[in-house]
């Protein structure tokens, strides 16, 4: 299948007074047409910075140091500002984490969505655009669209605002939608509705979606393929079945056992991953997860493992998966 977007060895850093924060340290992946790709990782893993690098929406202190982001045969890192603006919202659009603050408080929601269309299609008639927006509102199940069109963001609940954001993101039927933790700030019930909606819309429009989250449960429900990020690197890439059935990296395993299970015996304690993510101003030389990894060996702290293929479309970065790795009770993959 032809990938719609291909990222190759992306490195993004922030220049701060404390030195260079290497948020993304060489990330490569691609996403196919009509696919939903999940990017999973904890705060500071570089997942948001990766997605923001695609549309070049990072703060002024951020620098894309290396790599390429290929979209429609062009490297998005090199295109002019003007060309980038033509892509934003028209071909690649974005939904953000916090719907409460992502809408302009002083502009009616309908106008904010209409602006998205008019910006890229200034020749359209205002009445037609309004009709389109109302249509979009009913698509994302905003009740009484006509009445809601003139409402201001503060008159909406969080879930409703996120629906407005989704309507806005889909207004120009983009090829790719980047959703950066779109349900994190919402109730579980609303979260479920929004996920269903994204699924439906993906089917209807054939839009590819990059779905960023720290919640593997959400990934299971929505995504076709998953990338697990840690310390600014991709740790594992796999199909949704593989990631849950045969996780290939101790970090992925850690994430899986730290999901609470409702059927679980209450006396069994949740298994957290001890420790905290590495300091990215001075990233570790070896595997970034080594200091927290229960199976870490000497070599893990000294060298960064290269990817190893575990199956079709399933690769991981772990020495324990290497053919020459010792097979004993300390290796979870070769007991």
């Amino acid at each position: 299948m032809e990938p719609i977007l291909q990222i190759e060895n992306l490195k993004t850093s922030f220049m701060t007074s404390n030195g260079e924060v290497q948020a993304v340290r060489g990330v490569s992946f691609s996403i196919n047409k009509g696919e939903i790709l999940g990017i999973v990782g904890e705060s500071g893993s570089g997942k948001s910075v990766t997605s923001m690098s695609i549309l070049r929406l990072l703060a002024d202190t951020a620098v894309i140091k290396e790599g390429s982001i290929t979209f429609e045969g062009k490297n998005l890192i090199d295109v002019s500002k003007k060309e980038m603006r033509g892509i934003r919202g028209e071909k690649i659009s974005m939904i953000f984490q916090d719907p409460m603050s992502s809408l302009n408080p002083l502009i009616p929601v309908g106008n904010q969505v209409a602006e998205m269309i008019l910006e890229h299609h200034p020749d359209r008639k205002k009445e037609d655009v309004k009709k389109e927006v109302l249509e979009l509102f009913s698509r994302v199940r905003i009740p009484e669209p006509e009445k809601r069109y003139k409402c201001f963001p503060h008159e909406f609940s969080g879930g409703m605002r996120q629906r407005v954001m989704i309507a806005m993101a889909l207004a120009n039927k983009p090829d790719l939608l980047i959703a950066d933790e779109p349900t994190t700030a919402l109730d579980v019930t609303i979260q479920d509705q929004i996920l269903h909606q994204l699924r439906e819309l993906e089917k209807e429009y054939g839009t590819s979606i990059i779905f960023i989250t720290h919640d593997l449960g959400v990934v299971a429900e929505l995504c076709d393929r998953v990338i697990v990020m840690y310390g600014g690197l991709v740790m594992e890439e796999a199909s949704i079945d593989d990631i849950f059935e045969k996780p290939g990296h101790p970090y992925t395993m850690g994430l899986l056992v730290s999901i609470p299970d409702i059927k679980q015996d209450k006396s069994v304690r949740l298994m957290p991953i001890p420790g905290s993510p590495p300091d990215m101003t001075n990233p570790p030389k070896g595997c970034p997860f080594a200091p927290r990894c229960p199976y870490a060996r000497k070599i893990c702290a000294q060298e960064l493992p290269e990817f190893i293929e575990l199956g079709e479309g399933h690769r991981t970065r772990c020495f324990l998966q290497y053919p020459d790795a010792p097979a004993d009770e300390h290796n979870p993959f070769r007991r």
Partner: protein
């Protein structure tokens, strides 16, 4: 909404009453009176004068008599300038101060807001540094120093602008700069910090993600949000500028209202003290009220119920 504004109006009247009361009490508590002077009037003359202006009445009676006058729009006669009333001072002085102040307000708004926007947009670059340097000078150097420097350069050295009077449009230039200097600097700083804060908001990122060009992001999405705190400061500034400044009017020999704010106190010209205070207080309260109305117009989140 109507109820809210009616309530606000009521509170304003109460505030005004308290201002009058406090000023009246403090004024009378200060030693001396309008007719204690170094010319040493004989006791009989002073008593006769006090009797003429009812200054020998008990204070509460004087206060209520004054209020009664106020209700009829009568600020009373000046005790120091025979034959003049405080109404005359205001009627003669306010148009002059008001015109100078009005021009200054236009200058302040047209200078400070673009300066603040420029500094915020070019945050950290040389444009920002220049604007902030000018603004720092403006808030730290007192107006009489600025006035003296301006007069020295533009009147004395270059002879380009008059050093006093408002006879031609040229006469307005130096007083307007002196009078507005502080406000321009203060508001430019306010505008800059407020816009910088707004530019960091999530909805600005949303606007950029839509593909909007930077000028559209700033002027359509950021500016209105950033103006709210600026308007808060602008309200009292307008009241200050319109009612005149003692320093500026003294230096540039402007026959305005500002001069009375200080002179009336040193001369214990009771009615003039009260008159200009009431006049200024009313202006200030009205401006704060207007600012509240503006909030309503700009920000849909603000509903007064």
């Amino acid at each position: 909404m109507v109820r809210y504004f009616a309530k606000r109006l009521g509170l304003m009247l109460i505030a005004l009453f308290l201002i009058i009361l406090v000023t009246f009490v403090i004024m009378h508590a200060v030693p001396g009176g309008p007719f204690t002077s170094d010319r040493n009037l004989s006791e009989e003359v002073e008593a006769a004068l006090n009797a003429k202006y009812h200054l020998d009445d008990p204070l509460p009676k004087q206060f209520f008599d004054y209020l009664k006058g106020l209700l009829h729009g009568d600020f009373g006669p000046s005790y120091k300038f025979t034959g003049k009333t405080v109404n005359d001072f205001i009627a003669n002085g306010f148009p002059v101060s008001g015109k100078l102040g009005g021009i200054t307000i236009i200058f302040v708004v047209l200078a400070s807001i673009p300066m603040g926007i420029l500094a915020a947009v070019k945050n950290g670059k040389w444009q920002d540094m220049v604007v902030m340097a000018v603004a720092t000078i403006g808030v730290t150097i007192p107006s009489f120093v600025i006035a003296s420097m301006l007069i020295y350069i533009f009147s004395f050295r270059m002879g380009a602008l008059p050093s006093f009077g408002l006879d031609s449009w040229k006469g307005y230039i130096l007083p307007v700069i002196t009078l507005g200097g502080y406000s321009v600097s203060y508001l430019a700083r306010q505008m800059r910090s407020s816009l910088l804060e707004v530019m960091g908001q999530d909805y600005i990122r949303t606007a950029r993600a839509k593909g909007l060009a930077e000028p559209k992001v700033i002027f359509k999405h950021a500016l209105r949000n950033a103006l709210i705190p600026v308007i808060t400061v602008l309200g009292p500034t307008v009241a200050n500028l319109l009612t005149g400044s003692f320093v500026v009017e003294k230096i540039f020999a402007v026959p305005g209202l500002g001069v009375h704010f200080v002179n009336s106190v040193s001369m214990r010209d009771y009615t003039t003290i009260m008159g200009v205070t009431v006049f200024y207080a009313t202006f200030l309260l009205a401006m704060v009220f207007i600012v509240d109305v503006f909030y309503c117009l700009i920000d849909p989140r603000i509903k007064y119920d």
